[in-house]
């Protein structure tokens, strides 16, 4: 069988308009800088970067840090959308800098980059994630079984049972959802979407036996009932998890006690 030929369209191979000579354009990055040792208030600082618009915002941040201003501080580890370190507010929307292409966010205008909201900014784009992880730990994100003996065989599960919570297994704990939630902005005691998503992942796991306990934790005043279904979390999730739907499923499980 012949190898299929991809991209047979007219545009294939033809350079896009304006990019014929050089792919590089000048993009302004307006970054919210904060350094508590220099000033008590954050300031916006503009950086002009010569960059290919098909590169990512993270590449631009690297360019700024490595070539323009080494004091720029941000988190990143894998740089490929898996570790969840570099969630930030880009053009007013929570995204992963490593998954956002510059061409997709209108490089004609200055691109604003700031730390995610609702958590204490430590420096520049770095926030204190501790309250976020505290809420995550509170929902006990690990398998709990009533049988305390060491298992002698694998815990098997049908494909349908696995499918039940497949969506919520995708979470990378980047905090983009929780820090896009207006309820969390105002009251950090709210568990937040990410913690509920990770509780959902175990509540609906047929192998887990602590669903009742987890539901009780989320039945709290600061649990799922504080969700106002604004869908900010679903919009923000870089993994495409239907966060608000997961929260609604936890609410339904609390009412019907079936999960």
């Amino acid at each position: 069988m012949a190898t299929p030929v991809l991209d047979k369209g007219d545009a294939a191979g033809k350079p896009e308009a304006g990019f014929a000579d050089s792919p590089y354009i000048t993009v302004t990055f307006r970054i919210r800088r904060f350094n508590p040792e220099v000033a008590a208030e954050a300031v916006w600082e503009d950086f002009q970067v010569e960059i290919d618009p098909k590169e990512r915002v993270l590449d631009a941040l690297h360019k700024i840090k490595w070539e323009l201003d080494g004091t720029l501080t941000f988190r990143r580890s894998c740089a490929h959308g898996i570790c969840g370190s570099d969630a930030m507010r880009i053009n007013g929307k929570n995204r992963l800098a490593c998954k956002t292409l510059i061409k997709d966010i209108n490089p004609e205008k200055p691109i604003t980059v700031e730390a995610i909201k609702g958590l204490t900014v430590l420096k520049d784009l770095v926030v204190d994630m501790e309250p976020f992880f505290q809420a995550y730990r509170d929902v006990m994100p690990f398998l709990i079984t009533k049988d305390t003996n060491e298992p002698t065989r694998e815990r098997l599960q049908s494909a349908e049972d696995r499918e039940r919570f497949d969506d919520t297994t995708k979470c990378i704990l980047c905090a983009a959802c929780t820090t896009s939630c207006p309820v969390f902005w105002n009251d950090g005691q709210y568990f937040g979407p990410a913690a509920i998503v990770n509780a959902h992942r175990f509540i609906f796991d047929s192998r887990d036996e602590a669903g009742e306990q987890r539901l009780e934790i989320l039945n709290d005043r600061d649990g799922v009932w504080r969700c106002r279904t604004t869908f900010n979390c679903t919009d923000a999730c870089p993994r495409g998890i239907e966060v608000t739907k997961a929260i609604a499923e936890v609410k339904r499980a609390l009412i019907t006690r079936r999960y």
Partner: protein, 160 residues
């Protein structure tokens, strides 16, 4: 080293104006959302669940009650001009309309109060503000419900 000099020069008068060193470190930034001893304890019980469910169920009932009420009062049979003491007296002679109005009063007041309670919880930032706003809300709710109930049950059409 030049970077050290630059940093030292850049340090402004923050929190006392000292230049931070190992002996005199930068102020520790306490997370505003950190769980401390003052953080409210987790609540047990199903109050939030019941409140959430009540909002949905009372909302459905209120759609019928309120739209029916508005239709009768403002649209049917001559519209708003017909409403007078005699009209109210005639309606409340029937237990059906007494129950309708009583149900509407209780559901609407509790629905609205619960909605405002969540708004206060969401928007009032300080615990004290929250407490006082809620105290005001509950007082107003209880007062209106009791007064309305009293009027519906003790209404006298022959009052002078």
């Amino acid at each position: 080293m030049s970077t050290t000099d630059k940093t030292a020069a850049g340090v402004g008068p923050v929190e006392g104006g000292a230049v931070y060193t190992v002996d005199n470190p930068a102020p520790f930034i306490e997370a505003p959302r950190k769980r401390t001893k003052k953080t409210p304890k987790t609540t047990r019980g199903n109050f939030e669940l019941a409140a959430w469910l009540f909002m949905r169920l009372s909302g459905i009932v209120l759609v019928v009650l309120v739209l029916g009420h508005l239709l009768i009062q403002l649209v049917l049979d001559g519209g708003v001009s017909k409403i007078g003491f005699a009209f109210v007296a005639g309606r409340w002679a029937s237990p059906f309309w007494q129950v309708w109005d009583l149900l509407m009063l209780w559901l609407a007041m509790l629905h609205g109060a619960n909605g405002l309670r969540t708004v206060i919880n969401d928007y009032a930032e300080r615990a004290n503000t929250r407490l006082w706003l809620k105290a005001l809300l509950y007082t107003a709710t209880v007062f209106t419900i009791l007064l309305g109930t009293l009027v519906i049950f003790t209404f006298d059409p022959n009052i002078r």
